[in-house]
């Protein structure tokens, strides 16, 4: 397995308050990596650092061995895409126009480099995320799930090698959560896009990730296969919950939090 995205000694401070310290992370090409951890552990900050949206106070993020700060913004946007939480677009933006913004990195000197390729990429992204039928609808008329898929299509239109997602299923009902996770899996399996996602649902990490990194106490406490890393003991140590273990239909162990441990 070759490493595509990595961080070493990564640190970030907000003013004088350290948020992350000496973070080491290794993402293999073609992998789905889930970042989990309690609220306030710095998951979103880590994702922003990995995307080059925040400047680390120490260490570096490397894309195939090259410091991302040395890759130009536009060149980086063609290889690495990120969907932050709570992105909004003007209410009257149509889905097709929104997805078209994903082609912004492929414009140079104020013009499109290859309009045909742009259209193909937009069509592909809408097809993968099942929003083709919605392409003329305005974002204000979409449900939460449809909206999330439209934004997912926008970042997929970037045709990235690595896709970073910040809690992609937040605020969605169970069916839409499942749909989004299936789309992410399809993008990964069929098109080889490496996925790094912050997840708040431990069971999603068990079901949909190839690797999981646990962020705790400003650093990555553990990284490994989900079934090796996630255990009742980890949930007690990291999240402070006592969880009951169940076996799902595919034989995986999943967890239901039952009680708070004494803190």
């Amino acid at each position: 397995m070759t490493t595509i995205l990595s961080a070493e000694h990564l640190a970030y401070a907000a003013g004088h308050t350290p948020i992350l310290e000496d973070v080491a992370l290794d993402v293999a090409r073609g992998q789905r990596l889930a970042i989990i951890g309690p609220n306030g552990a710095g998951k979103s900050t880590l994702l922003r650092l990995l995307a080059g949206l925040a400047r680390p106070s120490g260490g570096a993020v490397q894309l195939e061995g090259c410091d991302i700060r040395r890759i130009g913004r536009q060149a980086l946007a063609r290889r690495l895409a990120v969907l932050p939480q709570g992105v909004e677009a003007p209410a009257d933006t149509t889905v097709r126009r929104l997805v078209g913004y994903g082609r912004f990195p492929y414009r140079s000197h104020l013009r499109a480099e290859d309009p045909v390729k742009d259209r193909e990429a937009v069509d592909w992204a809408m097809q993968v995320t099942h929003v083709e039928a919605l392409q003329d609808r305005q974002v204000q008329s979409l449900s939460g799930g449809e909206r999330q898929r439209a934004f997912l299509a926008m970042v997929l239109a970037q045709q990235p090698e690595v896709l970073l997602l910040d809690e992609p299923t937040t605020y969605l009902d169970m069916a839409h959560q499942l749909e989004v996770m299936q789309i992410i899996t399809a993008v990964n399996r069929q098109y080889g896009v490496t996925i790094v996602m912050v997840l708040h649902d431990i069971n999603h990490a068990l079901q949909y990730a190839d690797a999981v990194a646990v962020l705790q106490g400003r650093r990555i406490a553990r990284q490994g296969r989900p079934e090796d890393v996630i255990s009742a003991k980890l949930l007690a140590d990291v999240f402070g919950v006592e969880a009951d273990a169940f076996t799902d239909r595919e034989g995986r162990t999943v967890y239901l939090p039952a009680a708070l441990t004494r803190r």
């Binding site: 895409a81 932050p84 126009r97 104020l110």
Partner: protein, 329 residues
């Protein structure tokens, strides 16, 4: 990528805007202390005779009409750009103090180097840009927040405005028609003013339309724009410069005319939507139309007294500002 019914509707709206602007030109040419019939106006424009009407049309009405249209375009575009890059529905070159910066520097050149009138607009641009940077610096705190921009702008505007007032009073012998200039008016604007305006309007319009996609992507927020490969700070700085060029050229010719840049982009947005590739040209047309009609009204309504058009714009604009304030913040 417009399609189907919506592109038909857009074409219709554009046609209406075009008709509004064209009829605004016509009305502005015809109406005034001397009424000139449309056929006569057309005849004069085709081949000028030496009549009094021809004199009025060529030397007074036509240049003033062109100045009104150009200033309307400039201020509308400047407001549309500022609203987009400051993520602020209330941004307008006048409200946030960019016009005051332009005015202060323009007046300074006017007073100190009255023989170099070509320097007025460049100086006004420097003032406008300075004011804009000052507003950013004052309002910046973990990113841009709409309400802080407005408050910083009000402060900057008051500060620079006091400088303008002081200059006007200290040099009242040298500043003609100061009151007209303070509220913004088109009185006695003529061909030299057209010549001062049109190159800036042309360049500003071209740059604005070229940057329309950037403005669109900026609406997704700084983080998303950055992750789509935009150099956000640089883009915002360059677009601020374009807005400052447009505002400065308008201020240099008509003074501190407010609210055009606030009202027009909102009206246009309601009718054509938020895609800047369409919104900017629509705002330009509508800006020309609004100022042409307002100025004609200001000239004719209280004849023989002529009101500065700035009074009309403020009377329309201030309630509109309050309406936006209640709805959006």
């Amino acid at each position: 990528m417009m399609r189907g019914a919506s592109s038909g509707r857009l074409a219709a709206v554009f046609l209406i805007f075009l008709v509004l602007a064209a009829s605004g030109v016509l009305v502005s040419l015809m109406m005034g202390s001397v009424a000139i019939a449309p056929q006569e106006a057309a005849a004069i424009l085709m081949g000028a005779d030496g009549s009094t009407h021809a004199q009025i049309l060529w030397n007074i009405r036509l240049p003033r009409t062109l100045v009104a249209a150009l200033v309307g375009i400039d201020l509308a575009l400047s407001g549309a750009i500022l609203q987009a890059i400051m993520k602020n529905p209330l941004a307008d070159p006048h409200i946030i103090g960019i016009s005051s910066g332009a005015g202060l520097m323009g007046i300074l050149v006017l007073l100190l180097f009255p023989e170099h009138s070509a320097l007025i607009t460049p100086a006004a641009f420097v003032g406008a840009m300075g004011a804009a940077v000052l507003i950013y610096l004052l309002a910046w705190k973990n990113g841009i927040q709409p309400i802080r921009i407005i408050l910083a702008g009000v402060a900057v505007s008051a500060f620079l405005g006091s400088g303008i007032s002081a200059l006007m009073i200290l040099y009242s012998d040298r500043v003609h028609n100061a009151l007209m200039w303070m509220v913004g008016g088109l009185s006695a604007r003529s061909w030299p003013h057209v010549a001062m305006l049109w190159p800036y309007t042309l360049v500003g319009f071209a740059l604005a339309v070229l940057a329309a996609r950037h403005l669109n992507v900026l609406q997704l927020g700084d983080a998303m724009a950055r992750s789509l490969g935009m150099r956000v700070e640089l883009t915002r700085l360059l677009l601020t410069a374009v807005a400052a060029i447009l505002a400065a050229s308008a201020v240099s010719v008509v003074g501190l005319l407010g609210f055009v840049g606030l009202i027009v982009p909102h009206m246009a947005r309601l009718l054509v939507g938020s895609d800047h590739r369409i919104l900017l040209p629509a705002s330009a047309l509508l800006g020309a139309a609004v100022l042409l009609y307002s100025d004609t009204f200001a000239r004719v309504a209280f004849a023989p007294v002529e009101l500065p058009v700035g009074i009309i714009m403020a009377a329309l604009g201030a309630p509109f500002f309050l309406f936006l304030l209640r709805r959006q913040l």
